[in-house]
């Protein structure tokens, strides 16, 4: 499992594609859709290696997925567990997530919770990931 973080519009996806050139890019912003698309791509790849879900997957915009899951009442622990399970079942899984916690802490409870819990989920993914990059101005820095 790999993780790429960075601000908006920094070139994260372009860098991810250089790491996993053959990977399916899932960019739906919804977890249900992400699982559906990743499974469909796994089935399409089944004739190559006989194993569903063993293909490489890049999950883009994880921050939006986390936002949607929190909106539906999932706890951060459940979200993290689900993300790690998803990654474990794939041949290679790369998560891309915007850094969203570097502004004024919002007054709104949900906006505040989203930023904090996204940060904590990223800590959980980073702890388990074999490599983590931060992309800034198109420049990848490997931080783990």
């Amino acid at each position: 499992m790999k993780l790429i973080i960075g601000g908006k519009a920094q070139g994260k996806l372009a860098f991810a594609k250089t790491l996993l050139p053959g990977a399916e890019v899932v960019d739906s912003g919804s977890w249900k859709e992400t699982c559906r698309e990743a499974d469909a791509s796994g089935e399409r790849g089944a004739s190559d290696d006989g194993k569903a879900g063993s293909r490489q997957v890049i999950v883009n915009r994880l921050h939006l997925i986390i936002r949607a899951e929190l909106t539906e009442g999932r706890t951060p622990e459940e979200i993290l567990r689900e993300l790690l399970r998803f990654a474990d079942e794939r041949g290679a899984c790369l998560f891309i997530c915007d850094e969203i916690g570097n502004g004024i802490v919002p007054m709104d409870v949900f906006e505040r919770t989203w930023r904090e819990q996204t940060g904590r989920i990223l800590c959980g993914i980073a702890a388990r990931a074999d490599a983590v990059w931060r992309v800034y101005c198109g420049i990848p820095q490997q931080i783990k």
Binding site: G7, D98, N102, G138, Q141
Partner: protein, 219 residues
């Protein structure tokens, strides 16, 4: 080294025009400097430009002064540069046009690049900063220009500048990580700035993030 001395040195090398002098110069430098508000990126960028030891040192100002707060900001920055021989050019839009004032070998980008990079004519330029420039280009009165056109125009202007300077330091702003979903105009602005940063970092010799006044080298 005192500024007057560096000026003399540069004039000496230009007047003699010996190829050897070109080799003795510090290598041509393009640097992108990024940091948050109050990070110390301006002070660092100014040091970098002065350290190049060039004959002419230009400050390329992009801010449109609209109110008292902006006047104060400009005054603070002017004081920081006072007495160090800066030539200030106001260029809130069409940044490439500053190359005409600084003096380029050619206005054709490809030729200028080739001629200028070899000639290295002794000018150092501090462009401050891209966030203002992108805003000025994009939001002209009620009109909002497309992000593609804005990015193309600015990047090609910077290529022109790069071609006629020995040292070009460009300051940009970190506005990408606050998690806020803005209106479409602002989102387009953020995407344009992000893309321009990436293109400039690609052509730059150095990319530096300034954090609490500390320069962290990214490239």
């Amino acid at each position: 080294m005192a500024f007057a001395e560096t000026l003399q040195r540069a004039e000496f090398s230009v007047s003699r025009g010996r190829p050897a002098m070109v080799q003795e110069r510090r290598p041509l430098l393009t640097e992108l400097v990024i940091g948050g508000s109050g990070s110390g990126k301006s002070a660092y960028a100014e040091q970098e430009v002065l350290a190049a030891g060039c004959g002419s040192v230009y400050y390329l100002a992009t801010m449109r002064v609209l109110d008292e707060e902006m006047e104060k900001k400009v005054a603070r920055h002017r004081n920081m540069r006072a007495g160090r021989g800066w030539l200030t050019l106001e260029q809130p839009v069409d940044i490439g046009k500053a190359a005409d004032v600084i003096g380029c070998a050619s206005s054709v980008p490809g030729q200028a690049e080739a001629a200028g990079r070899i000639r290295g004519d002794g000018s150092a330029v501090l462009l401050e900063c891209l966030s203002n420039l992108v805003a000025n280009e994009m939001f002209r009165g009620a009109q909002v220009l497309a992000e593609d056109a804005v990015a193309r125009n600015i990047v090609s202007g910077i290529r022109r500048l790069r071609a006629c300077t020995a040292c070009l330091v460009i300051v940009t702003n970190a506005v990408f990580s606050d998690g806020t979903a803005y209106d479409e105009g602002t989102e387009a602005y953020i995407r344009a700035l992000g893309r321009i940063n990436q293109e400039i970092s690609g052509m730059a010799d150095r990319v530096t993030e300034v954090v609490a006044g500390i320069p962290v080298r990214l490239k």
